[in-house]
Symmetry: C2
């Protein structure tokens, strides 16, 4: 088992990475002992792992809530089901919420934990690669608004993140690839050696080699933890983690949440960001091809879907949280392995990139 720490003063917490953690009572520490515990999961994960987690906990009151699966359910309305469950069983302010699932469950249960009685403890147990390497770490919680992704939320750090690598065995291939999109992101924005390692080891990752996956998860979490520790509330460098996300959110919102997986939309979005970086003279054509090659090898789309069109894409990007002072701020590549945030670019270049990448017709 490996342990990383997210250093945030009194809000610091450990990330435990290893095999068999779900059923290991010790992995939960004192957090779930003699406490009221609500496990929030979904109907896909519940039959696979819920009983294992339940048996590892020694709670004074243990309830579970299996929500409908999928991004389309990540709404204020579904979060209200969590509040209802907590209230129906008189959960007190010293209760613990356990988020057992992918990013949707983690974001939504985390938001419920942030808001219930103005904040209760929660534990993240991410069950997708994407949630393990990204959304479970760093305290961003949210639900979607019909007009925009993650628009209603809170910064609320978990007390602990348990990453059980065994759960990846049941993950569909498509979800594994989607998780790799965020893994590759860390290499692109700030860790060139890791990017090179990924290029060399992508086959092992796709074959679910446990050592390779554990290394990729640990390196991703280390990168994420460093960024979050330096900028918890995204006033600066944390925004780099959004590489590809502004374009990606437009794809997700334009298609309807859940049509493409988040990782798929972000992969295509990172390719668009790379092309925009090239158009601005920052990176070379060879760099863009290197980026595209890696995403393609990971089984990910490197182009936005046909049909959205540049105007709709721009409109949807305008709903993204990365808008400040009326200007869409973009994360771009200064070079492969180094991203930066800017609102200072030629709008005509953005328009051309959108026209080239978001076709209305095939």
């Amino acid at each position: 088992m490996q342990t990383l720490n997210v250093e945030l003063g009194e809000r610091s917490y450990p990330i435990l990475i290893g095999s068999g953690l779900l059923g290991d009572a010790g992995a939960y520490g004192e957090l779930a002992e003699n406490r009221q515990v609500l496990i929030v999961t979904n109907t896909t994960i519940a039959p696979l792992y819920l009983s294992t987690v339940e048996q590892a906990l020694s709670a004074t009151k243990l309830r579970s809530l299996a929500l409908a699966d999928g991004e389309s359910h990540k709404t204020l309305h579904t979060a209200a089901e969590i509040f209802d469950a907590l209230m129906a069983d008189s959960f007190a302010r010293d209760c613990v919420i356990v988020a057992l699932g992918g990013g949707v469950i983690g974001d939504m249960a985390g938001f419920a934990a942030a808001a219930y009685q103005r904040g209760v403890d929660f534990i993240q147990i991410p069950t997708t690669l994407l949630a393990q390497v990204d959304s479970s770490v760093g305290g961003k919680t949210a639900v979607n608004h019909p007009r925009g992704k993650n628009m209603i939320g809170a910064f609320h750090q978990p007390r602990r993140v348990l990453i059980d690598t065994d759960v990846l065995a049941t993950l569909p291939d498509r979800e594994l690839s989607a998780g790799l999109a965020e893994v590759i992101k860390y290499g692109l924005i700030r860790d060139l050696p890791f990017l090179a390692w990924l290029e060399d080891n992508l086959e092992r990752l796709l074959q679910r080699d446990r050592d390779a996956l554990t290394h990729a998860i640990a390196e991703s979490c280390r990168n994420k933890a460093e960024v979050v520790a330096a900028d918890e509330r995204e006033s600066g460098q944390r925004a780099l983690l959004n590489l590809g996300h502004t374009f990606g959110h437009a794809i997700e919102a334009g298609l309807g949440y859940g049509e493409w997986l988040h990782g798929e939309a972000v992969a295509a979005g990172m390719c668009v960001a790379a092309r925009m970086s090239q158009a601005l003279g920052l990176v070379s054509q060879a760099d863009v091809q290197r980026v595209e090659r890696l995403f393609a090898a990971a089984g990910l789309p490197i182009h936005p879907p046909v049909g959205l069109g540049p105007d709709r894409a721009l409109e949807l990007m305008g709903h993204d949280k990365k808008v400040l002072g009326g200007r869409i701020r973009l994360v771009l590549l200064r070079q492969v392995g180094e991203a930066f945030v800017t609102g200072d670019y030629d709008s005509a270049v953005l328009e051309r990139i959108l026209a080239d990448n978001f076709s209305l017709q095939a």
Copy 2:
């Protein structure tokens, strides 16, 4: 104009108290200049003061939303209307929400500000005495759950509080009295000289003497600011501000929110707390009578309504946030002018107090 400061490091903010602040562009500082501003108000306040506030602001985009008036509308559902308004007009993360109204509007707009894009700036402009002396200061925001008051919320400090004493001219008598309940509370929990001043000046306050009201507001805000600065997230002494609130919340929830005003329920709740303090041998019968006399003189109820009954009251108290480790924590009086929090009391005494105070029949 008086200015107090709530000292919370980088989250510090000023409370401005004076006449004519609503229409004074300078009172808003730079906060509402060249920003997107959404004014959240209600249908009672909008015709009285909305245009004054709108004219004082020099926003790049100015929208207003008038919600239905009353505690029964302080729900997640109504908060969603605020999110809808923000999203419909593409409000960005650097927007400002102005809460123009009483405690319901302040709590709800504040919660929306806390959650929209994970936190945007907001300004409190309280238009009831209760909101001016209590809910607008300190960053507690929330909406109610059908099973409990303020159960869904956030700690999110305003950037500024504007208390315009002129608005009290249009406040109904009943609301003035309700506000005095929280004013008196500060005297009871930590400020005996202020309590004596209130006893001497209650008539002036009821006659809306401007100097007396300004003094009462300033002293209340000073007390609140000191408590909040020492304990922002209510891990300790901030809980003293809940004197009477656990009993009061049971009254509000039992009757249905809005039947009694919050201040009325809390006044009766403080009298119950005083009686419980007497039953535990902490204060004298004369002390209890002194407390009752002051609330009665302020036009406030000193007994819970008939009909709720002790069992229902206890059940509703169990839903209150002041439950820790399965035990209802109560704020009691060690003496008049000094409150304390305890979960260490004889349950039989609580049961007797509930039986005596929450009658099923007249």
